[in-house]
Amino acid sequence: MSAASDLKDVEPRIDVIHRLQQAIAAKDKDAFLAFFAPDVEYHYHVGTRPLMGREWVEKFITKYWANNTGATWVIDHYAEADGRLFTEGREQYVNADGQTVSHPYMGVIEFRDGLIAGWRDYFQMADPNAGK
């Protein structure tokens, strides 16, 4: 059974994202991708060109998981309504240079037919604490 097949319209979106986090923690790429609509528009960083479509997301996540180890995604606050979920949290990981990087962020996740159709994350790309 795919991760997406048991999505239900009535399921709180935050619970869907908690299941997505489990797929990320397991680095289960198939389960991860099953959460996304084929035509998803994914702004992993607002201000940078977005990833258009699930295949592009797959290329991105393959490279991202190869270059970043020990990533922990923490959601501190959220609000949801009408197929949209706003989150506030932080992501911590060790990059390819062995540096621990922590990014506070906020994001918008938009759902359509139970799948993620839009995603926009807001944060500062260049970590001012890196190397300190």
Binding site: G47, H77, F86, Y105, M106, V108, Y122, F123, Q124, N129
Partner: protein
């Protein structure tokens, strides 16, 4: 419209007309404002007043637009864009942002701003000094 959203709209209106005292009156005395998530927050009104004065000297906030909002209890989360004229560099910036606003007893008590400061960092840092 919720009471908190009414306060938020009044807060934005005070900002747009440059009424810093009205802006501050809508904030709690023990406010916490993260204007930049990698800096220490502002925790009192005199410092907030100074920040507003310096910010206005550095930027002309020509628009402050909320594109999407969601509420959860006494918290409003927003996605929006502000159009800032950087007086020093003489450029107009579209600053895409998200923001958390928390309320307590009808006042704005905590604010956290999320944006890529690479676009506005130099004058913003000066504005906070």
């Amino acid at each position: 419209m919720s009471e908190n959203m009414k306060v938020l709209e009044a807060w934005m209106a005070a900002s747009k007309r440059g009424d810093h005292e009205a802006f501050l009156d809508m904030m709690a005395d023990d406010l916490e404002y993260y204007w930049y998530m990698y800096a220490k927050p502002i925790r009192d009104k005199p410092t907030m007043r100074k920040f507003l004065r310096n910010y206005t000297a550095g930027f002309d906030q020509r628009e402050w637009i909320l594109k999407n909002t969601l509420e959860n209890a006494d918290m409003i989360m927003v996605e929006g864009v502000e159009k800032l004229f950087d007086r020093k560099r003489e450029v107009l910036i579209d600053n895409l942002f998200m923001q958390v606003i928390e309320f307590k007893d009808g006042k704005i008590s905590k604010v956290r701003d999320y944006y890529d400061a690479q676009r506005v960092q130099p004058p913003a840092a000066e504005a906070a000094a």
